[in-house]
């Protein structure tokens, strides 16, 4: 036994929630400061959250099917993480900046990204998928597939907001903030730690939103950390919250609180949303190799959509409302399928078009060579 074996990690912080797994309204004591934000939500807000979650799940299932049918190269399902994503992104204001990882389909779509844009990436048509500079896309940056790299981009962007005085002026309608998404696996990446160091040093207006979905492909979160991931934020000198990521209400309220503090000049903070990846890591993965059916069943009982539905039913939402949401979701998924399967390969010369912004002799030379080569093949066929 080494001396370090004696050191037990301190007790993990309580998971903050307001909606219990059974859909009852049962705020934990630590939820107290956030209840005014929860209670300010209107019936329409709650219905929007529900519609978001059901619609995105239908899209996610459709995309998974498209991959199974050979229409996509890959699909990373968001199944199970709807509440974490809907709540947090509905907490953002239009002027905020969103830096996703690669499973934030719900986040991107709610900000205005056409889901077919995400399909473009996963179908092998583009390395991007949408134009983050187009206002229609709600300041949603492109996906980043190298884990954690985007946390630094978000922090740098936040530094830019500070340097340009675009935040912290006291006007919440105008002050901008940044939210960056990453996961429990990415939390071990050095870039995440460096991003937190820089964020704390320059007091960026930033929320680090960690979806702890319990699994980094096949490795459980216990291998990434012996202690609650939310505790790491304190080490960098920033407030941290650990929330029930399957409770859309607390996800909304805590993120709203954190983003408002950020835009008010109070600096960065961290949120760990404890959730579960109900699907595979990606369509190339086989979860039966590393986790049990009983674990999956346990988390199914804590499903984010079921609990909000129960809650809404208790508040008197009508059967017609739920039917209408289901129909809309199905139509949305069908529309995505229809448009996704028509996406064709880009033209070959596009490979050379955007490697550099300024003219580059090698790009011109190789584009010319390819054109001549292809023309010579056409000539051979004739």
């Amino acid at each position: 036994m080494t001396p370090l074996d004696d050191v037990a990690p301190p007790a993990d912080p309580e998971i903050i929630s307001v909606l219990a797994a059974d859909g009852s309204y049962a705020p934990t004591p630590s939820a107290e400061p956030f209840l005014p934000l929860v209670e300010a939500l209107t019936e329409t807000d709650l219905e929007t959250f529900y519609r978001d979650m059901v619609t995105s799940r239908a899209f996610d299932r459709q995309a998974t099917n498209l991959q199974r049918q050979g229409q996509l190269a890959l699909w990373p399902p968001s199944f199970g993480q709807e509440a974490a994503q809907v709540g947090s992104i509905r907490a953002a204001r239009p002027q905020d900046h969103i830096f996703p990882s690669y499973r934030e389909h719900i986040v991107a779509t709610i900000r205005g990204v056409d889901p077919v844009g995400i399909i473009r990436l996963m179908r092998g048509v583009s390395h991007g998928g949408w134009n983050p500079l187009d206002p229609a896309n709600g300041n949603t940056r492109l996906y980043t597939l190298v884990l954690g790299s985007q946390t630094l981009h978000a922090t740098g962007y936040g530094m830019g907001l500070v340097f340009d005085g675009r935040t912290g002026t006291g006007d919440p309608e105008r002050d901008e903030a940044v939210i960056v998404y990453y996961g429990d696996g990415a939390s071990s990446q050095g870039d995440v730690h460096e991003a937190m160091v820089f964020a704390a040093s320059y007091r960026t207006p930033q929320v680090f939103f960690l979806q702890n979905n319990q699994w980094a492909i096949s490795v459980p979160v216990a291998v990434q950390s012996r202690t609650a991931l939310s505790r790491r934020g304190y080490g960098y000198g920033m407030p941290s919250h650990r929330i029930d990521g399957n409770d859309v209400l607390i996800s909304y309220a805590v993120t709203r609180h954190a983003l408002e503090a950020a835009r008010a000049g109070e600096g960065p903070s961290a949120i760990e949303a404890v959730t579960y990846r109900r699907g595979a890591h990606t369509t190339s993965d086989d979860p039966t190799k590393y986790r049990t059916g009983s674990e999956e069943e346990g988390w199914a009982l804590r499903d984010p959509i079921a609990r909000l539905r129960t809650y809404l039913e208790g508040r008197g939402a009508s059967a017609a409302f739920f039917d209408e949401v289901d129909e809309g979701a199905a139509a949305h998924a069908d529309d995505v399928r229809t448009r996704a399967v028509t996406l064709t390969a880009p033209e070959a010369p596009s490979m050379f078009a955007h490697v550099y912004t300024d003219d580059h002799p090698l790009m011109a030379e190789q584009a010319r060579w390819l054109a001549d080569y292809e023309a010579s093949l056409d000539g051979g066929d004739a």
Partner: protein, 327 residues
Amino acid sequence: MSDTTTLPFGKALNAGLRKALADDPRVLLMGEDIGPLGGVFRVTEGLQAEFGDRRVIDTPLAESGILGTAIGLAMAGFRPVCEIQFDGFVFPAFDQITSQLAKMTNRHEGVLSMPIVIRIPYGGHIGAVEHHQESPETYFTHTPGLRVVSPSTANDAYWMIQEAIASNDPVVFLEPKSRYWHKGEVDLEASALPLHASRIVRRGTDVTLVGHGAMVSVLLQAAALAESEGTSCEVVDVRSLSPIDYGPVLESVRRTGRMVYAQEAPGFVSVGSEVAATVAEKAFYALEAPVIRVSGFDTPFPPAKLEGVYLPDPDRILEAVDRSLAY
């Protein structure tokens, strides 16, 4: 009358950075110890005092963090100039440079530019400890999306840093650290050449010597020695390692029929290899001898007491010239 002054290479860089900061309020310098200290080589000396700590930023000690946040700052409309303290310290930022920065414009299908400069003091000749004398250029020249340049004179240092900052693409700016203290004439009015141009720096008729960075001065020494022995060497400074301006190189080789490339970096799969292959392809009938490469050995950079053996010197270059002439 043109406005010229004599400056050491490092001071010329400092003057070029000062000019870039003064000309464009979106230009930022960021790096470790670049503020009050002025960087370990004093290249940024006085700039924080002049432009403030939001234009000249002392960062936490984390290279990936420097490059990753620079990408975010570029997204927010800034033109960051990052200093990496020494060549061997750039590798913690490798993902951010090669997978993130280099591909960012491409994955954005052209709607986003990444005007970021990465300054790296590189190369040997200063008797330093491990990781402080390396020549990592090949990693970056092999990465599509990056531009790579290396000035060899004070005048080029002054102008090329400004041109690199004006580039809308990421530029890896390799500063031959052994040249920092060498003085040269700097024309403060106009740049003689664009960023990506190579240049014939000495005329000759028998053999073309080509190289970059600190090696250019070694080539010039070799050419002077060769002349005393009756061999006339032309010397070409490629200046830009990606893209390479082959015009002056090919023009020279077509006249001399012989070429030697010299570099400090290991030779296997290197800039010298690439130039040799291209010259063989494009000037085959002009060549009287194969292109010969003189490089650092394919070993880790050795302990400083052996650097004189590892680094190409005038004698090794003349040995290559003799081999070329023997064909």
